[in-house]
């Protein structure tokens, strides 16, 4: 369909969550914004292939994910940037989490296999249904469910080894002791 004003507004409205998805995937905000920009260019250049009435965010997320997997993973391995670059880009720290806790969570998330991380983010943070997440990742719904479950188990093993104690300065140590779990 042609780019109407309504459609343009919808695309613009999806930008914040596209950025959040991109940053969650890549862990780096500068790359993430390039990724979002590339996604928008592709989407607008190919807007004719978008079916009116279908799920625009899912379409945009699919483009972003494909771009990330085809290109950005390669580049990411070439240049690893400084530790903590992600948190520096944030205007505010998450209110109910300490900085340390937040960094630990982000680090644990990055250790997850790519498939599991994206499934967890799409379902647990972006708010997509399992069905939408499966369409975005090009796999079966059951596959998404098991990836999300495995991602949660691994995060749990890395961050909350015994499952009862609160986060503390020694949770890194516990994460090491706990290994990658299951």
């Amino acid at each position: 369909m042609p780019l109407t004003n309504a459609l343009r507004d919808e695309i613009l409205a999806a930008v914040p969550s596209l950025r959040a998805f991109a940053i969650s995937l890549s862990g780096k905000s500068d790359r993430a914004d390039d990724l979002v920009q590339e996604t928008l260019l592709r989407a607008l250049a190919n807007i004719d292939s978008f079916q009116p009435g279908s799920n625009l965010p899912a379409w945009l997320f699919t483009i972003l994910r494909n771009l990330f997997r085809s290109d950005y993973r390669k580049r990411r391995r070439e240049v690893e940037d400084a530790e903590g670059s992600y948190s520096k880009t944030l205007k505010s720290q998450p209110t109910q989490s300490s900085h340390l806790e937040f960094e630990e969570f982000r680090a644990a998330l990055e250790k997850l296999p790519q498939d599991q991380r994206e499934a967890l983010i799409l379902v647990g943070a972006s708010g997509f249904s399992y069905e939408d997440a499966a369409a975005i990742c090009g796999c079966a719904v059951g596959t998404i469910k098991s990836r999300v479950n495995r991602a949660r188990s691994k995060l749990s093993a890395m961050l909350y080894v015994d499952g009862t104690e609160d986060f503390g300065p020694d949770s890194t140590v516990r994460a090491v002791i706990g290994g990658s779990g299951n």
Partner: protein, 132 residues
């Protein structure tokens, strides 16, 4: 009527009760005497317990012994799931709350004005997302 937990009696030859027993409050008694493995009888038994508001059914059927371990090793308890979900959303929403950076608003405005780049299919969805 408040039945107390008690084990099944060993299978004993019983007289087939009269129809009257099925319809009266004595049904429970019959079920208890029924041989183990009589699925229908067990079902009737737990139904009876439920209507009595008694927890005997669960105490008898729950295979989990009382364990000192607070968190199951394999599974995730709901508290941990909630924490992971909270952390994940906190991280994600922190970016969402930043809104649309100027560069993107600018980009779309420019593209909208007809300065679009050539079409390129790379990166477009290969699956059905957005196409149903």
């Amino acid at each position: 009527m408040c039945p107390k937990p008690r084990p099944y009696l060993p299978p004993t030859p019983i007289k087939v009760p009269s129809r009257r027993n099925f319809l009266s409050g004595n049904a429970l008694r019959f079920v208890r005497m029924a041989p183990q493995g009589t699925r229908l009888a067990e079902k009737a038994f737990s139904l009876k317990e439920l209507t009595n508001g008694d927890s005997m059914d669960s105490t008898m059927k729950d295979p989990k012994p009382l364990s000192p371990r607070s968190a199951p090793k394999g599974g995730l308890n709901s508290e941990i799931q909630a924490r992971i979900g909270h952390q994940l959303r906190a991280m994600y929403d922190d970016v969402v709350k930043q809104g649309v950076p100027d560069r993107f608003a600018e980009l779309i405005r420019k593209l909208d004005a007809g300065e679009g780049p050539p079409a390129d299919m790379e990166g477009l969805p290969q699956n059905s997302a957005g196409r149903e």
